[in-house]
Symmetry: C2
Subunit: 401 residues, 2 copies
């Protein structure tokens, strides 16, 4: 697999663009279109929140066909909690795009992110879709990535290439951050496209697994926004032979989608609202995989742990207490905790001032590694999070201003 | 029931005091003793965290006797994650106090709060217990309340009186805050004493119910610190006839303990780390009591809701999305949301700018009322929380400095 430079790339058969159409109060971009010149296989993963945005309801129904040709995404307005009018607006957005692009309305997917409870400004959307359609370009990824941003500081892109069945295939993706890593609801959007020829069934399986190993390691299962979605389109422009399920090529394809998803997930964390540090948190030797992940997530989402990391304080008691609340089998007298390479805790007991000093040095870095050994079984899990700073409060206290 | 002024009060048969013995780096008080002149009935509620401080393990064993005569509490050191030495130190603390007070060692309960992973300075504790024992006073409640504080800004006290069986009984309590309202681990300590004569069995039942309706409405079930505890001592000095289970007097007693517990719980919220606003959050017409509480807690603990309240932003979409993640049966098209008296959302839809303006005014107050009607059943729940401010980050980033 070859990891490409994200500054300038294209994926055969896809054209994309992003513009400002007036949904946001500022002059920032707020509408993106991703278009495949031919009908593509489509797969999607959607929020588990009981309150679902119109875009989620519409796309979840459409993706059952396994097919599609375009995605229209807007930022600045979530079109969630907007009832029948919101649903009609989502449908109309797809219809307008379908006309502009000359495709079937039910082959257009929509995505929204922004403030909940407000209606889409349909006139602006219509004008925006028309403008963006005219500007679609094979190299418009930066514009598209910018147009789906909300509180993100920078656009998130990833692209890889691989040889499959004698052909070079490209997998590329853009994402917008879920603000904080453990949001109760901040939206995460991700669109991945590839020119590989794969069956809708394989695409679905591939995307589910990739999501589990990427985005689901940066957010608590089920604890997602009204609008979260990951959509994946595969248009077959590479002309490769369809890989068979379980084949070597299928695995290569899986690795590509996963690499793009993991890269985007890590970018989302790095750009977490107010984040000053990227934190990789590994749990080793848990009783089973579920408990490994649960333990890692419990520590990663603890406000007290996150503020201590911001304060560069090796306060391991907060890590231990978060583990005690994780709902897993653990025994403090078996538990070891490392920050960086410093073994801060062995068998539940602090290892003294020298270890604390080493850990404090590790905490001064931009990237922090925390590792916990439960000595309870053989399962590991790694999750990614960020620290919690003053800036997080500022961003979220003034979000709608 | 008469609610007394907390500035100066006493409870017959109890003497208490608080001093600085040197556990804290500052000159703030850090050791309290609560002593009953006669053996008392004792009940306790303890943390559900799997990682339990030595004090919790010791007291949970001792409380099975239903009897006791003193509590020694220290702040500045949690004596948690301290292994066998920590357990020995907790026992020794009780033994030292028993000698000073002339009571049986197993009638002394201990409580600790502060940094995890450090050992108690036993020499200082011994000297402190000796000094505090000599100062014990019927009117030492302010000193005792101050000595259990950590990040609390003010001491928390409550006291009520009631006629039971022709006698006036007093119920009084002190507490220290769990910092933030939904802590992953910040410690909450509460000690309630009364001169009422009640059986250990009734005291236990009364305390469990009172805790459920007070402290368990400000913290997620099971999501507690390594050191949390509520202890209650009843010494019978009032000379009333023991109320029978289910009697009118039993209910009056229950109401007294509950009133003290609710008052202390609300004081804990009001003094939440960095809190600028006290928030009362009511959920109406949930499917059942469990779902009512779960819904209320899901909203109350959302960082995004709490930061929006700090920013005085009536961003109801965050409330709706938190409900969608609460794991309850809800239907957004039936859900109403009020902030203050403003009906911000009816049947899932925003009610426009005028309602938002009214809600914004309500959010400017020091005390904010949020009410959610799920229209799914007949169960209600009320919980208390606070907003999340810059100050919260500051306190928790620099906690051990």
């Amino acid at each position: 697999m070859k990891i490409l430079d994200t500054k300038s790339f294209s994926v055969p058969g896809f054209k994309v663009w992003g513009i400002h159409c007036g949904i946001k109060k500022t002059d920032k971009k707020d509408l993106a279109i991703l278009y495949s010149e031919r009908e593509a296989a489509v797969a999607g993963v959607f929020t588990k929140n009981r309150v679902k945005a119109a875009s989620v309801l519409l796309d979840a129904a459409r993706v059952k066909s396994g097919k599609g040709q375009a995605i229209v995404a807007n930022s600045g307005c979530a079109n969630a909690c907007t009832g029948k009018r919101g649903m009609a607006d989502a449908r109309e957005t797809a219809e307008i795009a379908a006309k502009e692009l000359g495709v079937r309305p039910d082959s257009v997917y929509v995505a929204s992110t922004g403030v909940i409870g407000e209606f889409l400004p349909m006139q602006k959307i219509a004008t925006g879709i028309s403008t963006a359609s005219g500007l679609l370009s094979a190299s418009g990824w930066e514009q598209a990535a910018e147009a789906i941003m909300t509180t993100d500081i920078y656009p998130k892109r990833a692209v890889v290439q691989e040889e499959i069945g004698g052909k070079t295939i490209t997998v590329a993706g853009i994402a917008k951050g879920s603000g904080m890593i453990h949001p109760n609801m901040a939206t995460m959007l991700c669109f991945i496209v590839t020119d590989a020829e794969v069956s809708p069934a394989m695409l679905k399986k591939t995307l589910l697994e990739a999501t589990e190993r990427s985005f689901n390691n940066i957010t608590v299962d089920g604890d997602t926004s009204t609008n979260d979605m990951v959509l994946c389109m595969a248009n077959g422009a590479a002309g490769n032979k369809r890989p068979a399920l379980g084949s070597k090529d299928a695995k290569k394809f899986q690795a590509c989608v996963e690499a793009v998803a993991v890269s985007l997930a890590r970018q989302v964390v790095r750009d977490g609202e107010g984040a000053t540090k990227f934190v990789e948190l590994a749990v080793r030797n848990a009783k089973n995989p579920l408990e490994a992940k649960r333990a890692a997530m419990a520590v990663a989402k603890s406000s007290l742990v996150k503020t201590a990391i911001f304060g560069e304080d090796a306060n391991w008691g907060r890590i231990m207490a978060a583990l005690g609340n994780a709902g897993i089998e653990m025994d403090e007298t078996r538990t070891d905790i490392f920050i960086g390479k410093a073994k801060l805790v062995e068998k539940g007991l602090g290892q003294g001032k020298q270890a604390e000093r080493e850990a404090a040095l590790a905490l001064k870095q931009r990237e922090v590694h925390i590792s916990i050994d439960l000595h309870k079984g053989k399962s590991d899990a790694t999750v990614w999070t960020c620290d919690m700073s003053y800036e997080y409060i500022k961003i979220n206290a003034a979000y709608r201003n």
